[in-house]
């Protein structure tokens, strides 16, 4: 691995992402973080104002990545089944692109304090609404069979969101291959139609 030159703040954020993912936000101390970088805890505060600022950067950084993915998908006018496939692929791309940040995004956002906490929740709701809209239009157009759309959309997203725990960049399967299998599973199910 080549030494990558980045500024100190980016380095701190990256180390924090890894530690928050491994130990959890609440169980990671600023002294842990400082030690991982090789400086004293007090020195961190010349680069940032608080521990929560780090959590903030990570959570909202991921939220923006998901939004960018959504905007790309929505800019194309696609029929619901193919749009859903694309939305899944882009979602998987965002997760696999930074598995540590994805894990923190999924699990540690609740340690945000207000008003960020509410902003975060509403952004997440907006993203779920984007998937919900695809399902609803697909159902209305007769493409999809769905009883309860809220149940469907949340289980669908959950079926993707654990990937940060399994995906390995050096592994055999590429993100688009993973996305393809999961799309197939979500759209056509496990039962073989003979």
């Amino acid at each position: 691995m080549a030494e990558i030159i980045t500024d100190r703040k980016s380095q701190i954020t990256e180390k924090a992402t890894r530690l928050f993912r491994e130990r959890g936000y609440a169980a990671t101390s600023m002294r842990d973080l400082a030690a991982a970088i090789g400086i004293e805890a007090a020195s961190l505060y010349s680069h940032l104002r608080s521990k929560e600022e780090l959590l903030n950067r990570i959570c909202f950084g991921m939220a923006e990545s998901f939004f960018r993915a959504r905007d790309q998908v929505q800019s194309l006018q696609l029929a619901p089944p193919v749009q859903l496939r694309l939305a899944i692929e882009k979602h998987v791309e965002v997760i696999t692109n930074d598995v540590n940040a994805s894990a923190v995004f999924q699990h540690e956002w609740r340690y945000l304090s207000e008003p960020d906490l509410s902003v975060f929740k509403s952004m997440r709701g907006e993203y779920e609404a984007y998937f919900m809209d695809i399902l609803s239009r697909g159902k209305a157009a007769g493409h999809f069979q769905i009883e309860n759309e809220k149940l469907a959309v949340l289980s669908l997203l959950s079926a993707l969101n654990w990937l940060y725990d399994w995906y390995r960049p050096e592994g055999r399967l590429q993100p688009h291959e993973i996305a393809a299998q999961l799309s197939e599973q979500v759209l056509n199910g496990l039962i073989k139609k003979s």
Copy 2:
């Protein structure tokens, strides 16, 4: 709500379950827990030896519930597609039966220390292997279409495991109705076959 008479230790465990779920294990102090019960923090230690003992009880209690569900399913000799439906139903039942404990089980187990941590992980692996076995046998018998079985089983379980966050006992949908829709989604997918 009627006042339910239980012994102190059960009461402490139940309050701990709720607090660990709401705030996370690491961010819940024994003083928080004591205050929720209405005693002093030091008094907790006449009922238990450590904070981790509580986490232990919750995590392994859930693990045993999942194992009992598995044993019920395996005691019936069923063809893979119908066995999978039943496994999903039982899994959903366990989660909906105690949503707080389910949340702690899903997210806080990593704060267990050795040797419990390793025991927990191997139990979880055994449970995943039980679902994996259903999928493998179903695939071998020509019932299922699955490319990567590990990917399939983990996304399947993830599609169920978020339910603790959504299910409300007082809500409209009963656990078996939720299980039925999710089974349908997993087995036949979202695409309508006309």
